[in-house]
Every structure is written in C-alpha cells, then in structure tokens.
Amino acid sequence: MRTIFRFILIMTSISIIYAEINFGAGINSYYSDNIFLNSTAISDYVNVFSADINYTAKHYNIYFDGDFSIYAENSEFNSYRIEPGIELLKYLKGRNYIYFNLSYPVLVYSDYYTDFNYNGPSAEFGFKYYLSSSLLFKSGYNLEIRTYPNFSSFDFSNHTFFIELNKFFSSQTTIRLQTGFNYRFYRHIAKIFPGSDWAMDQNKGSANSMSVPNISGILRISQGIGSKFGLYAEGELRKNFRGLDEAETLINNSYVIYPYNDNYLWDGRRITFGVRFIPFAEIAVSGNISIMDKHYPGVYVMDEEGMVVEPETEREDKLYLYNVSISKKFRKLNTFLSFAFRNNSSSDFFFDYKMLTLSAGIRYYF
C-alpha cells in the first residue's frame, strides 16, 4: 500500500513539475464465459493492467505503452505487451492535419502459447482535410510487419489503406462512405504439419509464401437528435481475392487461439445499428447490434479430430453481436461498464458458440 502511495506521489509530482511528461494507469477487468470464442466455452476472469508514459511537445509525442493480462483460471495465457513509439501531428491550415506514428509493439505470452509471441515495427499515416465546411475527407495507411520468433510460419506483413468521405447536413445527418484495401502477406509458411515451422524446415526448402488481399466498402448514416441523442446504421461489404488454401500449418496451429476473427481472412457482409445518448449527469450510454455473414475462403470445415470433412466445404458463420456500454469521465478518472453478447452459428461445429462478457474499467491520468 505504501509503495502504491509512493508511486502515485512520484508520478503526480513529475507530472506537475514537468508538464510535458504525463502518466496514465488503468485496470480493465472482465468476465467472459467463453474466452476463446469457440465451442469449448472456457470461462475466465481477466484483469488487464495498463500504463503509459508520454513526453509531448507541440508537434510530437514520444510514448511507451504497456499492459499485463492476467487470467485467473488459465494462467498459461497470461501475457504482456509493450509498445514504444513516436507520433507526429502537424496542423495545416484550419482544422486540417497530417499524422504519423511509428512504433514497435512486442507481445509475450508467459507459457504455453509462446508460439504466438510477436514483435515488429508498425507505421501509420493519417490525413484529415475539410474539402468544404460540410465535407470532410480522411485517409489512412498502416504498415505492420510481424515476426513470430517461436513459430516463423506466422510471420506476416500487413498493409491497410482507407479513404473516407463524410458529408454533414444541417438536419444533423451525416453520411460516411469509406473504402479500404487490405493486403496481408505471409512470408514463409511451412508445408508440413503438425509441429512444423518454416525456420525448422527451411533446409528442406519446404515453404510457401502467400498473400491475402481484400477490399471493403462501408456506408454509414448517422442522425443526431438534439445534442444528447444519436443513432447510426452502418453496412459493410468485404471481398477477399484469395483464401487460406495451402496454409494448413497456420490453420492447424492457430485453431484454438486464433479463430480467424480478423478482417484479412473473412469476407461477407455486416450490418450494424447503434444508439448513443446522455440520460443525465454526463453519463454516456451506447449500444449496438451487429449482424455478420462471414465466409472464410480456403478454411474448410473440420471434424472433431481436426480432419477436413469430405466433401470439402468452406466455413460459413452467422454472427449476432450485442454491445452495451456506460461511461463516465471525472476530472482525471475515466470509468466504464460494458456488456457484450455474441451468438455465432457456424458450419464448423467448433465455432458454433455463444459468449457473454461483462467488463468494467477505470483509468487515472496523473
């Protein structure tokens, strides 16, 4: 207790003396009845402790973010993540600006899942420009290069690019059109499974490289009603130009922890309806429902033994996602409570699941 008190005192003193240096610390706790998002339905209570330190000048910020995830029941899944980085923000005329970020995230699992440890540089570029007083243009690009030291078949680089137009109307209606291009490139996937890694197999020359390009389009219509109430509806279409064929090593090893829930591996459509309002005392409440039809090109339905079921059919999911969140900001303290429920029906029984998550968090800025 005395150590915590001393820590708070030191951080507060430094923040007061050196205004350019800021600290933040927080804890997010959540209970999930299905932490792996699959039919095993393993529940756990998770605490995520996070902290950040920032040195901020007028146009740049040097930072170091870090967090620890601690699982009450599945401690082999405990991990920490650190991310040193620098960001630059340059205002152009008016409210227009360009943004650049360079960082080097590192994720380390404590025990059983060390195959999923990764590190590598990440760069981001953003541009925001008002074409007129009611038309906003935004664009962004992200390059992420990941290296998995313990299982190099996972190594990949990601390119994500998007452009977005926002048109604001005097009726408090906003229409947003966004299109994006994603390109994931797996540098070397071992051909042999199980237990196979490209680094171990490279003397046999048995590796594939593989790219997974996809494009997406999003239409969002939002409507403000007065100043304290807002509604939105959003539709998204994604198309993958290539699937995960010939990537058995990836699919098998990542079966439990990495259930292909990222946007590089599925295509299909999503529709979301959401609401935001402020009922009283500057408490913000938001909720949304998403319905997703997901198709996983190159990922085939498997049986309980992990063997592809004949005749081969690609995995298809229908996901219903419900979120409700309540948040309140105090002077230096941010708090939130949230509830999430997922109901996923899949042609692959392993991914036929339901999940309920309750989360609460506080974050304090020194």
């Binding site: 933040g24 409210r95 970020n101 992200n142 604001f168 304290k228 938001s286």
Partner: protein
Amino acid sequence: MRKTISGILFVILFLSISLPGKDKLKYFRMDKIVNISGKIVKIRTEERYLKNSFIVFEVLEKKTGKVYDVEVSPLWFYKIDVVEGSFISVKGALNNLEDKDVILAQSMTCSGEIFNFRDKFGFPLWRGERHGLGKNKWKGEMRKKGNN
C-alpha cells in the same frame, strides 16, 4: 536590499496591470456558469494566449436567438468531427468582453457524445493531460479494421 526587491516587484506588478495586453484576459468564473443549446453557425481558428491557435465556435442559441463565441480548446487538443450546422449543448463560464459574450467551454455534447475541455473547477484539460497526439484515435481506427 529588501526594499530594492520590493521596489522591483512593485514596478513589475504595476507594468503587468497597466500595460495593454494583446488579449483581454478571460477567467473561468464558477459563478458565471451557463448552459446553452444551439447550432454552430461558424467555426474559426484564432490565435490566443501565447500565440496558441484556438478553436472558436459561433453558436446561435436556440432559445434566445443570440450568438455566442464559444472558446473550445487549442487546436491540437481538439479532435472532434463537428461542423458548421451541428446542433450542440455547451456548458461553460460566460465572459463579457467589449460587449461580446464569450463562453469558455467546460464540456459539450453533440449527437449523444460528450466532449470535455475543462474540469469541474474550470481548469483546462489541455494543461498537463497530453496523453498522445492521436495514437488512440488513429491507431484505434486502424485496429478496428482488423478485428471483428
């Protein structure tokens, strides 16, 4: 010695009060807190306080039809996508300068979202709370594209 120091301090104090400043000073007075709702008719950026660029909204109050200047925050602290025509509610401290009503914004709501600029005592949040320039916004936006 003590007299000399006192004399110098007095001169500095006298000059600081009597010399005309570029900006008229504005104070966040707790007894002058007001709430207004209305449409943003114009958004300006203006140089204020040590040549910092500030965002200023001209807000047409719905009830009275009066136009207020709402001083929001320095440009770098402002990360909101509201435009002219947006309907907002503002809570802040009213100042009257040369017959112009200026509100120093404490918080603002727009379409169900809350944006805070000063704490409950009126202390600016941009002083000592620079937790990044955009990493949460831009990185968050990119990460959202990668996970569902």
